[in-house]
């Protein structure tokens, strides 16, 4: 069968989740003919997330109905370069999205910006603590873009999402009730904070007693009915308790479907092709300019899509894999430290404290929104003196009651038998009466944590799988011990009967079986030096000026917050550079 060749377009988007939808809006608005290629199926609120079928823990929460199909494509994982990698055969530690809307369908809506100092982390640490404070083997860098430059982009994305929250810093002025540590906002959140569940209010009171600064987590779960600047409408969140891993039946969680697609899919200069799995970015004979992409369609046919601009909008792991498969940029070699593609893969560190209450304090854990809750930022970023602590990084601490789904969200005290009448008694005694405090923090980039192509395993198209080499380092275990220790002190003031700490210990290896976060970052990082980054500060590939890479692939190390707010803002930032500079004079922007 001959390959199919499609008519050329101005821009092709590879992947159609949040960053693809944003880029699609921006480039079609600039008049470009745009095609988006999404490997998964088309989906929309109705019928795919409709009530009551969506309120099904087994199908969506446990059997992962809306996630990547690992039988077709996965990655391999090992702890160190000397080890043999084995496939990630079933979901555990992280769960990449799939289908139209991508992870934007089933995220929780925890919508943060970034701390200004995190965008220039290496410079900041060097200035405050000296270059010697960065341990051997740690490869942190500056992003190459400043908070001030990104502020309009953060603002734009929050307006699109109808983010609920309370500003703590308006144009440099402190505002009571918000996060006092955040970077300056140009205006208040589009919507006021969500209501708090009981456990969150107990956390906030206990944190305040210790002198900390609790505030409502920024949430892209609408607290009120909202119409965004594109005219798309959101309804108020009703705390259904089926948020992360589920699509929102209430049109309350910001997703590409609720905020952008109602407008974008109607534009005549836009076309979406689902079940189109891109396997390669094609280059011209110079190897320095992309000519388009090749994909496999739903019928297994090979299709060539020529394009003037190629924007990678797939998940972090896939963006990196496509660059490696296509020969764009030099692959990273951890032995020499040379090369860039696959470099600085990293992850996030989670921990937690469970607080068990008596039967006088029912928590109704099933009353949940994805991101409503109380958090503190006192131990994130560089809001505290790291000098005596001997680590770099931090995290936020909070109670975000996302739901009480009984198979997966059941917290029981340590030592509870796993079965029998004692287990049954324990779920009866604790289900309604437990609050979970979470700590959510950084992992720094490290010389021998990276991505490359696996030499053995292949996907269902015969292409090599990506190989992840990753393990926890002492710096990051120290961070979680410090931050989770603070969470324990707060927990002890919440009025429970007992508290239990869950965190990684020194010597623990990365465990792929246990869900942590789907906040994988790096591999195609941004920066100001082509010798240590894949894309420049405008997310444009150094080695092919008409290839742009979106998403958390570009983070040189991880931030303490959930990454989507930053990934979205960087997409607007890059789109602006394409619209205002690149389209006029195609060529390197930096």
């Amino acid at each position: 069968m001959d390959d199919i060749r499609k008519p050329p377009v101005d821009a092709v988007l590879v992947g159609f989740g949040w960053t693809g939808a944003i880029m699609g809006m921006e480039l079609t608005e600039a008049g470009l003919n745009v095609v988006a290629l999404e490997r998964g199926e088309n989906r929309d609120t109705s019928p795919d997330f409709a009530y009551p079928r969506i309120a099904d823990e087994l199908t969506y929460g446990i059997r992962h109905e809306l996630f990547q199909d690992l039988s077709r494509e996965t990655l391999t994982i090992r702890h160190a370069p000397r080890d043999r990698a084995v496939p990630y055969r079933q979901f555990g530690s992280f769960m990449p999205g799939n289908g139209v809307g991508g992870g934007g369908v089933h995220w929780n809506g925890q919508h943060w910006r970034v701390l200004p100092e995190e965008l220039r982390l290496k410079s900041h640490i060097t200035e405050r603590y000296g270059a010697g404070f960065i341990p051997d083997g740690m490869t942190i860098q500056d992003f190459g873009v400043s908070y001030e430059e990104l502020e309009p982009c953060f603002d734009q994305f929050e307006r699109v999402c109808g983010t609920s929250g309370k500003a703590g810093n308006l144009n440099g002025e402190q505002v009571a009730g918000g996060n006092p540590f955040e970077g300056p906002r140009s205006r208040e959140f589009p919507l006021p904070p969500l209501a708090d569940a009981y456990g969150a209010t107990l956390f906030a009171a206990a944190a305040k007693n210790l002198g900390y600064h609790p505030f409502s987590e920024p949430a892209s779960n609408a607290s009120r009915a909202y119409t965004n600047p594109h005219g798309a409408q959101l309804g108020p969140c009703n705390f259904c308790g089926y948020c992360e891993r589920f699509g929102c039946y209430k049109y309350a969680k910001a997703s590409p479907q609720t905020t952008l697609l109602p407008v974008l899919l109607k534009r005549p200069n836009f076309e979406l092709r689902a079940q189109a799995n891109v396997v390669r970015i094609n280059l011209d004979s110079s190897g320095k300019r992309a000519t388009g992409v090749t994909y496999i369609d739903a019928q297994g046919r090979t299709v060539h899509q020529p394009a003037e601009i190629v924007v990678l909008c797939a998940y972090q792991l896939n963006n990196t894999r496509l660059l490696l498969q296509s020969g764009i940029g030099q692959p990273y070699d951890p032995g020499t430290g040379q090369g860039v593609v696959g470099r600085n893969y990293t992850y996030q560190m989670t921990g937690g404290v469970q607080v068990f209450f008596g039967k006088d304090k029912p928590m109704n854990p099933f009353i949940g929104s994805g991101a409503g809750g109380q958090v503190i930022d006192d131990f994130n970023g560089d809001h505290f003196d790291h000098a005596p602590l001997g680590f770099i990084g931090g995290g936020y601490i909070g109670v975000i009651q996302t739901g009480g789904r009984p198979i997966q969200q059941m917290s029981l005290p340590k030592g509870t038998p796993q079965w029998g009448s004692a287990w049954k008694q324990a779920i009866k005694d604790h289900y309604l009466y437990t609050v979970n405090i979470q700590t959510h923090g950084t992992i720094m980039s490290h010389r021998d944590n990276y991505l490359d192509l696996d030499p053995t395993y292949r996907d269902s198209y015969g292409q090599p799988l990506l190989r992840m080499t990753f393990d926890f380092k002492e710096n990051d275990i120290r961070m979680t011990h410090f931050v989770t220790g603070k969470a324990k002190e707060i927990a002890e003031g919440m009025g429970g009967r007992s508290v239990e700490v869950k965190m990684k210990q020194f010597g623990d290896h990365y465990d792929t079986r246990i869900y942590q976060t789907t906040h994988n970052v790096g591999g195609a990082i941004m920066g100001e030096d082509p010798g240590s980054s894949v894309v420049n500060r405008y997310l444009q590939a150094w080695d092919a000026h008409n290839v742009f890479v979106m998403g958390s692939s570009v983070f040189p190390q991880n931030i303490g917050y959930n990454p989507l707010g930053l990934a979205g803002a960087l997409t607007y930032w890059s789109a602006k550079a394409i619209r205002t500079a690149y389209l006029k004079t195609p060529g390197p922007l930096a």
Partner: protein, 217 residues
């Protein structure tokens, strides 16, 4: 303030007929053989027994749930990466066996029954006294009991996880009949609408569960 309780919630107060005791209900099974079905029912009755807190896994239809799962995507590992080579790795790397869950169940039932017949006077697992059944299950859980053709731990892991799933999942999947587990713990199921309750702090939510089918508990 008076709280209006919808009629559906009051229905939960009406006495209902006693649930069946833990003898295996006569229901059709499609994947499992009769011997396997007897084993599965006996094991479910020990993993989540009927007791003073209410009916157990068998009464809630968990064996039917697991039988159904065997013929679905889960049983066939349809969404797992199942291409070789299969090599052993440390436990942090998760499932690395070429066996699908339905194959693990089949091999596990056969291996444990053979072990029981050898050790306990030619009795299969389902014919053993419950204390002996518990000891066998504990040996599977700890890894003390392992087999050439199947990992005892993996077999037990599927059995326990699927038993809990059938016990706690929506009845649409074949288990959790009458939403009895949800009533026991206080989970309202598929109600999924709590805007008027989020700020009632320290007050137990008073309404019984509903299922995806519309059934009220």
């Amino acid at each position: 303030m008076m709280v209006l309780v919808p009629a559906v919630s009051l229905a939960a107060c009406v006495p209902r007929p006693a649930l069946r005791t833990s003898t295996a209900p006569a229901v059709a099974h499609r994947y499992f053989t009769d011997e396997e079905w007897a084993f599965l029912n006996a094991a479910c009755a020990r993993l989540i027994p009927a007791d003073e807190n209410g009916p157990g896994a068998v009464e809630l239809g968990v064996p039917e749930f697991i039988d159904r799962e065997m013929n679905g995507a889960f049983g066939h590992a349809a969404t797992w990466y199942m291409q070789g080579p299969f090599v052993s790795a440390s436990p942090e790397f998760g499932y690395q066996s070429p066996l699908t869950p339905r194959a693990v169940y089949r091999a596990g039932f056969a291996a444990v029954d053979a072990h029981c017949r050898r050790m306990f006077g030619n009795k299969s697992f389902s014919g053993l006294p419950v204390a002996t059944q518990d000891a066998v299950l504990a040996d599977l859980e700890s890894g003390a009991l392992d087999f050439e053709n199947v990992s005892g731990k993996i077999f037990f892991g599927f059995l326990l996880q699927n038993t809990k799933e059938g016990y706690l999942a929506d009845p649409i999947h074949g288990g959790n009949k009458g939403m009895a587990s949800w009533k026991m713990i206080g989970f309202p199921g598929a109600r999924a609408d709590f805007l008027d309750w989020v700020d009632r702090h320290g007050v137990r939510y008073p309404y019984g569960p509903v299922a995806i089918s519309g059934e009220r508990g």
